[in-house]
Symmetry: C2
Subunit: 103 residues, 2 copies
Amino acid sequence: MKKGVLEMCILAIISKEEVYTSDIIERMKEVELIVVEGTLYPMLSRLKSAGYLEYQWRESSAGPPRKYYKMTEKGNDFLRELEKSWSQLVGSVNDIVLKKSKS
Amino acid sequence: MKKGVLEMCILAIISKEEVYTSDIIERMKEVELIVVEGTLYPMLSRLKSAGYLEYQWRESSAGPPRKYYKMTEKGNDFLRELEKSWSQLVGSVNDIVLKKSKS
DNA sequence: TAAGGTACTTTGTAATGCAAGGTTCTATAT
DNA sequence: ATATAGAACCTTGCATTACAAAGTACCTTA
């Protein structure tokens, strides 16, 4: 029923700026959403294989190189889809929750 | 990241009126949320074992008897919890999605 | 008393997200 | 030079969630 909320968040973050994994975790934490590496790495690989993302290696000033992700055209389309079904879900759930009881 | 949206919907429906499974499916369909028996029966059993629901057998005018569910006190508390974390989730996701890109 | 529909239940499976552990690479302290 | 620490990446195994599909029980009607 509720497919792809986390996926949508990740894609939304990447659509704003090129980021690597730790950036994503940080952006999520900024709005009190906790997500961990073990979730993120497989998901990013999946999204990349699906053609929604592409990445580029970049060196870091302190530490090993990082994979910086950015959206593809297809990824942007997919993000718009996800956003649409997300707002539909929110609407439906609000209908259920806010409906007056039969009294 | 976030669990229990469907659970919250089910509990919200039951909190409005005493219903049996087919009623729930119908209420959900009214707001374009599709849920099926195979999802619902195990979930209702779980919620009942957890002490959030109780049920009562009632005869039907045409067919076998039905399990009518209603909330317990504990169930109402739990529902309020779920609603709170649901609106937090909606808020957080909106923050992510609506945030301006760095440009 | 057989047939069909309604209601409840169980089983197997796919997808999701997490914990935990592992590998590689770089910088720094010894 | 070498060991240590830490950053970044990746993998494995597990619990949970939701669904499809098949199965069981009951009730009404022909």
